[in-house]
């Protein structure tokens, strides 16, 4: 009986209720979008493998390490495979087409990064050819690239014109893996440096070290750094997760800003819903007085008012989920793929959305309920809207 009343009440002012639900839905959708931006930002941290360490120059990431370190790292107990990479960058098509382009060791890359899936034929073809490259599926799709196509890149850090032949296209193992990268043979880069810019050859950017036992990561890291202590290029080794986290940490201010906004949105939902509830409760003062006269207690009235606002909250939450799907879809189309290689709505975000919609429903009901319960029967009956 009371439930029927809540439902009836919620539907009494159809336009207002629909507007309220819409308002909540939009706010919930915005919250979902912002949280998705943040979880996507952290996607690289989440996707990091536990059995991978990154060894880089201690001073900072931009300084190279000698190629000769490779053999020494391989000898460290607990190390299984050593891959190495070099940030290449350059300009493909035009400056706004940014995606990571790196030199790598073609022999080890797919062992150290098993989440990049290629067929054995593609792998062999990539490894065989000196100027071969492998691109991620997303990049291949975006630029309509096929195996055998030539990618020409204007170098910046490594000046000159560079041409690579696509011999493999890797698929991400899960949707959370970045499929927007491009890799080519490190030796190709090194040979050209020897020729064009002597003094810059024999360097790699960083080592990606696959270890046998993830629980030994701290010990292995220390062992690697100890070898190169007091050398010309000291190293800093950490888990891939910590390494990626370090990158994201630099954007802390922006992430905090987005987070604060996400929670301010909850405030907006609260205001919209509270506004509606206060209005409808005020209109119904007379009815509540009648209910009291009939013997309903404050508890019942509390139930009716908060129940109505929770129903509206839940409906808003459901509509909000649909809006979130729309926003997230639109955002991933509108924003260049390179901003967020991975952009997926996380389950936890959806759970949060619903929880907030319900909690806000309860909170928004409180002011009118207090008003309703306080109202004297006599005053209530006398009340004119």
């Amino acid at each position: 009986m009371l439930f029927k009343m809540m439902l009836r009440n919620a539907l009494r002012h159809k336009l207002r209720t629909i507007l309220t639900i819409l308002g909540i839905a939009i706010a919930v959708g915005a919250f979902g979008l912002l949280r998705t931006v943040i979880t996507s930002w952290y996607a690289a941290v989440e996707a990091a493998a536990v059995d991978r360490l990154i060894t880089r120059q201690a001073v900072s990431f931009i300084f190279p390490l000698p190629y000769a370190y490779r053999d020494q790292i391989l000898k460290v107990p607990g190390v299984e495979k050593v891959g190495y990479f070099n940030w290449f960058q350059g300009v493909y098509k035009d400056k706004s087409e940014f995606f990571p382009r790196m030199a790598c060791d073609p022999e080890t890359i797919f062992d150290v990064y098993p989440e990049f899936l290629v067929t054995p034929e593609e792998k062999a073809a990539f490894q065989k050819e000196r100027n071969a490259c492998v691109v991620g599926a997303d990049i291949a799709k975006k630029h309509n690239l096929k195996i055998g196509d030539v990618m020409s890149i204007e170098g910046d850090i490594y000046p000159g014109r560079w041409e690579f032949v696509i011999r493999a296209i890797y698929q991400p193992k899960t949707p959370a893996i970045d499929a927007t990268q491009m890799f080519f043979h490190w030796t190709y880069l090194d040979e050209r440096m020897k020729q064009d810019m002597p003094g810059r050859e024999g360097n790699v950017g960083w080592y990606a070290v696959k270890i046998k036992d993830p629980s030994e990561s701290a010990a292995v890291s220390e062992a690697i750094d100890a070898i190169f202590k007091n050398s010309n290029a000291e190293t800093k080794t950490e888990t891939e997760r910590a390494f990626n986290q370090g990158f994201i940490g630099a954007y802390g201010a922006i992430i905090n800003g987005i987070n604060i906004m996400a929670f301010m949105i909850i405030g907006i939902i609260l205001l919209v819903l509270a506004n509606t509830m206060i209005m409808s409760a005020r209109e119904r003062n007379r009815e509540y007085a009648v209910m009291k006269t009939l013997g309903f207690t404050g508890k019942h009235i509390f139930g009716v008012v908060t129940g109505e606002s929770i129903i509206i909250g839940i409906l808003g939450g459901i509509a909000g989920y649909a809006v979130t799907l729309f926003f997230v879809g639109a955002f991933s189309v509108a924003v260049p793929k390179n901003f967020f290689p991975v952009f997926i709505l996380a389950d936890i975000t959806v759970i949060q959305e619903f929880s907030f919609a319900v909690i806000v429903g309860i909170l928004a009901g409180i002011i009118p309920v207090v008003q309703a319960i306080k109202t004297d029967i006599v005053d209530g009956l006398r009340y004119v809207g």
Partner: protein, 388 residues
């Protein structure tokens, strides 16, 4: 016209819901203003370091100082260009600057990237904004550095007299520089030759900063580069333009994300306004009927309701802007995509932003109040009076 007193009366009767609507709009305007202030802050910080008389020379394809390389030979060719102004000593006013990035520990945890710039003695003449507020300039040929005020504040071990370790050596901080809020305050400066040696850079630099001779325009200077085959890979830009471009990616990112959020937010606020105004109309149907019966015209009723929403939304807008203006006291830092290193900047308010925010809040109110007001104006006198 409907008396203002009548409109004011409406506020009093529905003080709470009106207040909630104002609060909602204030919140949206606050976010909107904060976003604009942030991107303006970034732009101001990066652009204010530049002068129109100076040019920065970088490799054409490079996206920032860090990915540009000028080899020693090229630097020597540029030094001989007649378009470059000469200093009192007769030498060209030019500074070839190797730029690298190092890691430092942040106050409050975490590490971050800091730009280290090698400069020649002319650098201070080229950038009149730089002032050493504490200590002195580093000595040429020694492992000394000066650091920007933001670096001193935000990083551990970056005060006067501290030693920073990089490239297998310790570099003593002998001075603190103030750069009038520009990006140089987030940098460490040392002797170009010392840094090139320490980082095995030979005699190559990242960019070159030069003062153009009197009467030389940037176009003429650019032409000189086009005409010389040895320089065709490089391009000079005025310092102002160069630093503005450095801020573009970050500022665009903030604006795009912020605008998307604001638009979504404003829907929420508009809906809030619609609900308030519809209810305001519904509650006053009898009053509206009476007013009409007294001879007030439809457009007066429409006007009075629109005026009411404009008042509500403008109050919200003013409150939002006032709260946002306090953000000017905060300095935040984030990674700049182009320099790959940390940039400290402040939220910055301009008259343009204030006007923007107020217009934005008014538009929100007008959208929210339009249909309810139309409804009020359209009511037939008879129906409205019967409603009682």
């Amino acid at each position: 016209m409907v008396p203002i007193k009548y409109i004011a009366g409406g506020f009093k009767r529905r003080a709470l819901t009106t207040f909630i609507t104002i609060a909602g709009i204030a919140l949206v305007v606050f976010v909107y203003t904060a976003v604009l202030m942030m991107s303006y802050g970034v732009e101001k910080t990066l652009a204010s370091g530049g002068s129109e008389r100076n040019a920065v020379i970088a490799r054409k394809s490079s996206q920032g100082e860090i990915s540009s390389i000028l080899d020693g030979e090229t630097i020597n060719v540029i030094m001989t260009l007649p378009q470059i102004a000469k200093g009192a000593d007769g030498k060209p006013l030019a500074s070839a600057e190797p730029v690298v990035v190092i890691n430092l520990d942040r106050v409050g945890g975490g590490i971050s990237n800091i730009t280290v710039r090698g400069v020649e003695p002319t650098a201070i003449t080229l950038r009149p904004n730089i002032r050493i507020t504490e200590g002195r300039m580093f000595n040429t040929g020694s492992r000394e550095v000066i650091v920007g005020t933001s670096v001193t504040e935000r990083f551990i071990g970056a005060r006067m007299g501290d030693k920073i370790k990089f490239a297998n050596d310790y570099w003593t901080i002998v001075g603190i520089m103030d750069a009038k809020g520009s990006a140089f305050e987030s940098e460490v400066w040392g002797d170009a030759r010392q840094l090139q040696a320490a980082f095995n850079r030979g005699n190559s630099a990242s960019t070159m900063n030069v003062r153009m001779a009197d009467g030389v325009t940037i176009e003429e200077f650019k032409q000189a580069f086009e005409n010389d085959k040895r320089l065709s890979q490089f391009e000079p830009k005025t310092e102002v333009k160069f630093y503005k471009e450095q801020s573009e990616a970050l500022a665009t990112f903030i604006v795009v994300l912020g605008t998307a959020i604001t638009i979504i937010f404003s829907f929420g606020a508009v809906i809030g306004a619609i609900i308030t105004m519809y209810t305001a109309v519904a509650n006053r149907i009898t009053e509206i009927g009476t007013l009409r019966a007294l001879g007030f015209r439809r457009r007066s009723v429409l006007g009075s309701f629109l005026l009411e929403t404009i008042f509500i939304s403008l109050s919200g807008g003013v409150i939002g802007v006032i709260i946002a203006s306090f953000l000017q006291f905060f300095k935040i830092s984030t990674m700049n995509f182009n320099s790959f290193s940390e940039l400290a900047f402040s939220f910055s308010l301009s008259p343009g932003i204030i006007i923007n925010a107020l217009i934005f809040s008014t538009i929100m109110g007008l959208i929210g109040g339009f249909f309810p007001s139309i409804r009020a104006a359209r009511l037939k006198i008879v129906d409205a009076l019967r409603n009682a």
